[in-house]
């Protein structure tokens, strides 16, 4: 049975969080380091996990993490959009690209 961690009422798969830890990202830090830093790291996570995850798990975790960060930081959405615009999208995989440009 899957285990989940909650951030701002949003469910994040514990395995997803552990996978990120191994790749050098801490979800706890995302919720402490401020909106700008969180937005930059979130974009990196969206891209990185596209290579690691199945379709359903990918969207569930990415969407919930995005919602949690947006609830946590009022400026998260603005920082996210600004950083997406700066992104060089040449090497962004397709699912990540779809999600990021849907923002």
């Amino acid at each position: 049975m899957k285990k989940y961690i909650e951030y701002e009422g949003e469910r994040i798969d514990a395995e997803f969080a552990e996978g990120l830890e191994k790749s050098g990202f801490s979800i706890d830090s995302l919720f402490k380091d401020g909106a700008e830093s969180a937005a930059k790291s979130f974009i990196d996570i969206v891209i990185l996990t596209d290579y690691m995850m199945q379709e359903e798990d990918y969207y569930e975790n990415i969407v919930n993490l995005c919602s949690g960060l947006s609830k946590h930081y009022e400026r998260f959405y603005r920082s996210l959009v600004n950083n997406i615009e700066k992104q060089d999208d040449r090497n962004v995989p397709n699912r990540a690209s779809m999600f990021l440009y849907s923002m």
Binding site: S70, E74, Y77, V81, R90, S97, M98, S102, M103
Partner: protein
């Protein structure tokens, strides 16, 4: 080319032209940014210089503040992103956009509680509508991927 095929070809070209105008990607790929008005069964193309919250506020003739205070205003407008490669829609993402992410920041302040921004019926209607359009215009790839988010 028969008259029916010509009409389909024209609709396809028009859709892809409008899709390109919404696109923020470089290097030839298209991620078309749309809303489906689930009530009116209509596609709204979001120009690439405009974010989803600003676009929908202008479309309904309200301010973003109005939307924050009354999320029912955007219930019927379902965001859709369509990935197009070599004139074929290879993936369709329904139900999530900058609009919902922006609203999440206001969830506590305006006490939306557990309310969804869009009711499930509208999300499903929008999915059916966009797939039918893409099929009719012969844009939908046979092995397209579909992901629906209920927000």
């Amino acid at each position: 080319m028969g008259i029916f095929s010509k009409l389909v070809e024209e609709k396809k070209e028009e859709f892809i032209k409008k899709a390109k105008e919404t696109n923020m990607r470089g290097h030839g790929e298209i991620n078309a940014r749309l809303f489906v008005d689930a009530e009116k069964k209509k596609i709204l193309f979001v120009p690439h210089k405009i974010n989803h919250p600003e676009f929908i506020a202008a479309h309904i003739g309200k301010t973003k503040e109005d939307i924050k205070k009354n999320i029912n205003l955007i219930n019927q407008y379902i965001p859709v992103t369509v990935e197009i490669a070599e004139e074929k829609a290879t993936a369709v993402l329904v139900g999530i956009s900058g609009l919902e992410t922006w609203l999440d920041a206001n969830k506590k302040k305006y006490n939306y509680g557990k309310d969804k921004y869009h009711n499930k019926k509208y999300v499903n209607q929008a999915r059916d509508f966009i797939l039918a359009v893409l099929q009719e215009y012969e844009i939908l790839a046979p092995d397209f991927k579909l992901r629906i988010i209920y927000k």
